[in-house]
């Protein structure tokens, strides 16, 4: 499986090549990948059904406890099935939707990479691995939302989605680290068994906050819901796949996965059920103001994600069962409806539901698919959505906290959702026939296959919900409730949920009738709605720009010496403070020095000072030479023959370099005022003094054992060399040396590039100059 997922990334990279061979059929070829993975998953079903957990172990970075182990239990299996099956359908669908699109290969590359990231996310057993895949889905999602990169709205939406989800991702990383610390393991299947330890741990509250921030941003929970409707700038297959069926459910998946480890506390229950319920109502309510079919669906997705979060918050066995059913129902009808929305857009040329009408005569097949999926969204029998909604309402009735409030919110969301379903299905397909930008007709079978299959499954599972019993049972087992009795049925008799369903039907249809007037009222409320969390995001972004602008003006003002002075003063201040208060300034060293050594040191100082005060360049270079040779002499005196030779040779080459360059530069100029020089002298002396004190402190401190003792002892036995320095360079620490070779090579290539390309482009060189550069081309003789 690991091979399959990693191979999938390779396959994604090979799309451009495949596209050359298969042309517009490439999406179908790529669909084979998720399809075969789905077949494999189905073949593993017996293991999952028996309640076992399939652990596919694979090492990655054993030294850091990071594994690439995959864990497949009921929960992971259901998510993986949704990802692969809907993934295959979306790819098939995109063959038609993006037919002839210039950037089709790019789309396929990114969506395949996304698919594999998502699969890795739900299968990963290790927190680090999970996080890596989590971030990969954010990045691929960014690329997909911004697919139409020439559209500035798409770019803005992509950036917004990225910043919100990646910002949450940062919190999640912190949460994972805390989780691993508290649970003493990076492995999910171990962590879920240590729920009691985790819930009682001091770190529980901070880690819960961090993990929830990550999950809520990813799954578009209030107040982070705003990015999801904006993400509808993506092509419709992307919306259908990422922003309804899979990626936005990653946060919900994480919460479900961690439910046995972290769930059940008051903090968990209250936060999740309230945030979920508020998200439900927010999503359903905000949907009302839109006429764009994709926006309507996006807000209803926000509502669906809120429902899932709320059910996890309630956390009873019934709620977990409801979670599993609602998850599946939502993925099926929302995937279908998005693809229908894409068909409408593709065939009619508009996304505005008020511009459509009476399409059932022209697009009968599409109308049936839309009707079935819409009924499921509305939560009406005999569809799976109904089963899910009944279970949801039943669970809400046993919510441990603020039952009435949550019930009220859930009921409001239910009838608003019904109205949304009516708007999406009734408005375009029924009523007065309206002229659309393009004459509509049913799309090809290829395009209808995906939504058709998903709608059919909604109907099948609605009619015979018993089929899902084992799957839901396995999912609930994965969420830590193995003894839950799962018996799904369409009909539960006359009870309170049914009455609520009926009431929501009446209210929902009433709202649908009044929708046009309601919308006019909402338009007047628009300024108020705009003050929501998105305004906060915009203000944050604007503030960031102002801050960056201000600090650039203040700190990065272009004067190199200001940078230096600031950096150095901070260094002197911080290090000096630590040195003075932690260590004290009483060096405990003894001085043993011979006369010739003192002379060498004196020459060094004299050379350095002379290089600073000399007025002629030649004298300064000579002074530097004196210093360099004194340093070489020091290396000779203190047992470093290799260093001495290197220093001498480099001194020689430096002179050549300076002759070639320095003397083409202007003479020394005295540009600064005496005050400035005094200031610089103070800064320089402070830094130099700090270095001296630091070194004295190091020398008087206790000596730790040298790490090179190993190298000294093993240079001959292991490295077969008598020159230990050289053995370190080419054997013990050869990787460092290799890196240094690359640095040297880069510096040389940089010099070459600067001289050659600037000479070719610069103003000082005419055509002759260019011709005269030819000899280097003939270096080969």
């Amino acid at each position: 499986m690991q091979t399959a997922v990693l191979g999938g990334f390779v396959a994604a990279a090979m799309v451009p090549l495949l596209h050359r061979w298969f042309g517009s059929r490439t999406p179908l070829v790529m669909a084979l990948l998720p399809a075969s993975l789905a077949v494999w998953l189905i073949s593993q079903w017996p293991v999952i059904a028996s309640g076992d957990v399939l652990l596919l172990e694979q090492a990655w970075v054993p030294g850091l406890d990071i594994t690439l182990t995959f864990m497949i239990d009921g929960l992971a299996w259901l998510f993986a099935m949704l990802i692969t099956v809907i993934g295959a359908l979306v790819l098939v669908y995109s063959r038609e939707y993006l037919h002839g699109h210039r950037d089709l290969p790019r789309f396929l590359v990114v969506i395949t990479a996304f698919m594999m990231s998502m699969l890795g996310l739900v299968l990963a057993d290790n927190l680090v691995t999970l996080f890596v895949f989590w971030e990969l889905t954010s990045i691929t999602s960014y690329l997909l939302i911004g697919f139409n990169h020439t559209d500035s709205a798409a770019r803005k939406a992509a950036l917004q989605g990225l910043l919100v989800t990646v910002g949450g991702g940062l919190a999640l990383l912190a949460g994972f680290v805390l989780l691993a610390l508290a649970g003493d393991s990076w492995s999910l299947h171990e962590l879920v068994q240590r729920g009691d330890v985790l819930r009682g741990h001091d770190l529980y509250t901070p880690l819960l906050i961090c993990v929830l921030l990550g999950a809520f941003t990813k799954s578009a929970q209030f107040p982070f819901h705003f990015w999801l409707p904006n993400a509808m700038a993506a092509p419709t297959p992307v919306s259908a796949y990422l922003h309804s069926a899979t990626m936005v459910k990653a946060g919900v998946y994480l919460l479900a996965r961690l439910h046995p480890a972290l769930g059940g506390t008051d903090g968990w229950v209250i936060t999740l059920s309230l945030v979920g319920a508020v998200t439900m109502v927010t999503g359903a309510f905000l949907a009302m103001q839109h006429t764009n079919v994709k926006k309507l669906l996006a807000y209803s997705t926000v509502m669906g994600l809120g429902t899932l979060t709320m059910l996890l918050g309630i956390g009873t066995e019934k709620a977990l069962v409801a979670f599993a059913v609602f998850l599946l129902a939502h993925s099926l009808y929302k995937g279908a409806l998005f693809m229908v929305a894409g068909i409408l857009d593709h065939e009619t040329g508009t996304k505005d539901v008020t511009a459509m009408g009476g399409l059932r005569h022209l697009m009968p097949a599409t109308a049936i698919v839309a009707g079935v999926a819409g009924l499921s969204l509305a939560g009406l029998p005999p569809l799976l959505g109904f089963v899910g909604k009944e279970l949801m309402l039943t669970s809400v009735l046993e919510a441990p906290f603020w039952r009435l409030l949550i019930l009220l919110l859930a009921f409001t969301a239910a009838f608003l959702t019904l109205a949304v379903a009516a708007i999406i299905v009734l408005r375009p397909f029924f009523g007065q026939r309206q002229d659309t930008p393009q004459p509509p007709h049913d799309p090809s079978r290829v395009m209808l296959a995906g939504p058709g299959l998903l709608a059919a499954l909604s109907l099948l599972f609605g009619l015979v919900p018993g089929l899902l019993d084992p799957v839901v049972g396995a999912v609930v087992t994965g969420m830590g409730a193995p003894e839950a009795k799962v018996h799904l049925a369409l009909w539960h008799g006359f009870n309170l949920p049914l009455a609520l369903s009926f009431a929501s039907l009446v209210l929902g249809l009433t709202i649908y009738r009044l929708w046009d007037r309601l919308r006019a009222g909402l338009t007047r409320l628009a300024p108020l709605i705009r003050c929501g969390p998105e305004a906060g995001y915009d203000a944050l972004m604007a503030g960031l720009v102002i801050l960056a602008d201000g600090q650039t003006r203040f700190l990065q003002n272009g004067y190199i010496r200001n940078y230096l002075v600031m950096t150095l003063l901070v260094l002197v201040g911080l290090v000096g403070h630590a040195l003075f208060f932690r260590h004290g300034l009483a060096p405990d060293v003894t001085l043993s020095v011979y006369f010739h050594e003192a002379v060498t040191a004196g020459l060094m100082i004299a050379g350095a000072v002379a290089a600073c005060v000399m007025r002629s360049r030649l004298a300064a270079v000579a002074a530097l030479g004196v210093m360099g040779f004194s340093i070489a002499l020091t290396f000779v005196l203190f047992s470093a023959p290799d260093l001495a030779i290197t220093q001498l040779l480099v001194e020689t080459l430096t002179v050549i370099l300076l002759v070639l360059v320095l003397f083409r530069l202007p003479r020394f100029a005295t540009l600064s005022t005496p005050t400035e020089r005094l200031r610089d002298l103070v800064v320089a002396s402070l830094t130099g003094g700090l270095i001296t004190l630091l070194m004295l402190a190091v020398l008087s401190g206790e000596r730790l054992p040298r790490i090179s003792d190993y190298m000294v002892a093993n240079s001959q036995p292991l490295g077969h060399g008598h020159n230990i320095v050289n053995v370190i360079l080419v054997d013990f620490r050869a990787l460092d040396t290799l890196g240094e070779m690359f640095v040297l090579a880069l510096a040389a290539i940089g010099v070459f590039a600067m001289l050659r390309f600037h000479a070719a482009l610069g103003e000082g060189v005419d055509r002759d100059g260019r011709r005269n550069l030819a000899p280097t081309e003939d270096d080969h003789g």
Binding site: Y559, I560, R561, L564, P587, T590, L591, V593, I605, A608, V609, C612, L624, M627, I631, L637, F638, S639, A640, P641, L643, T646, V650, L653, T654, V661, L662, L665, P666, F668, A669, L671, D680, V683, A684, T687, G688, G689, I691, T692, M695, L696, V698, L699, R706, S708, M711, S715, Q716, P717, H722, N723, I724, V725, L729, R733, E740, V743, L744, A748
Partner: protein, 115 residues
């Protein structure tokens, strides 16, 4: 020797920084040379300075008989010297190009990205 070297290195650093704070680009280059030498010496001297015991294993032996100078900082400094030369050549060429294009040797006149 180390305390004396500590003072010497401090002065070298001060000289380097003083030169790097000058406005003339040529002086900046000299500051760079001083800085890399000072840094190399710092690494070398902080590890302890040993007289007359180079880190070599005598012929026919598997390990030195007596304590030798620490070879690790020597290896580090050896590459650092060569790389400092590479970086210096990059810096001087950059400075030279900058001078040829901007036509000024005053760093204060080079503070805008588009000149």
């Amino acid at each position: 020797m180390e305390p004396l070297m500590a003072i010497t290195i401090g002065i070298l650093f001060a000289a380097a920084i003083y030169m790097m704070l000058r406005r003339s680009i040529v002086k900046l280059v000299i500051g760079l040379i001083l800085l890399s030498n000072a840094a190399n010496l710092l690494i070398f001297a902080t590890a302890g300075m040993v007289r007359g015991a180079p880190p070599l294993v005598p012929k026919g032996m598997t390990a030195p008989e007596t304590a030798v100078a620490d070879p690790l900082p020597q290896a580090l400094v050896l590459t650092a010297i060569v790389i400092a030369f590479g970086v210096l050549s990059f810096a001087v060429v950059l400075v030279r190009r900058a001078w040829e294009i901007v036509g000024a040797d005053d760093l204060d006149q080079m503070k805008d990205t588009d000149t």
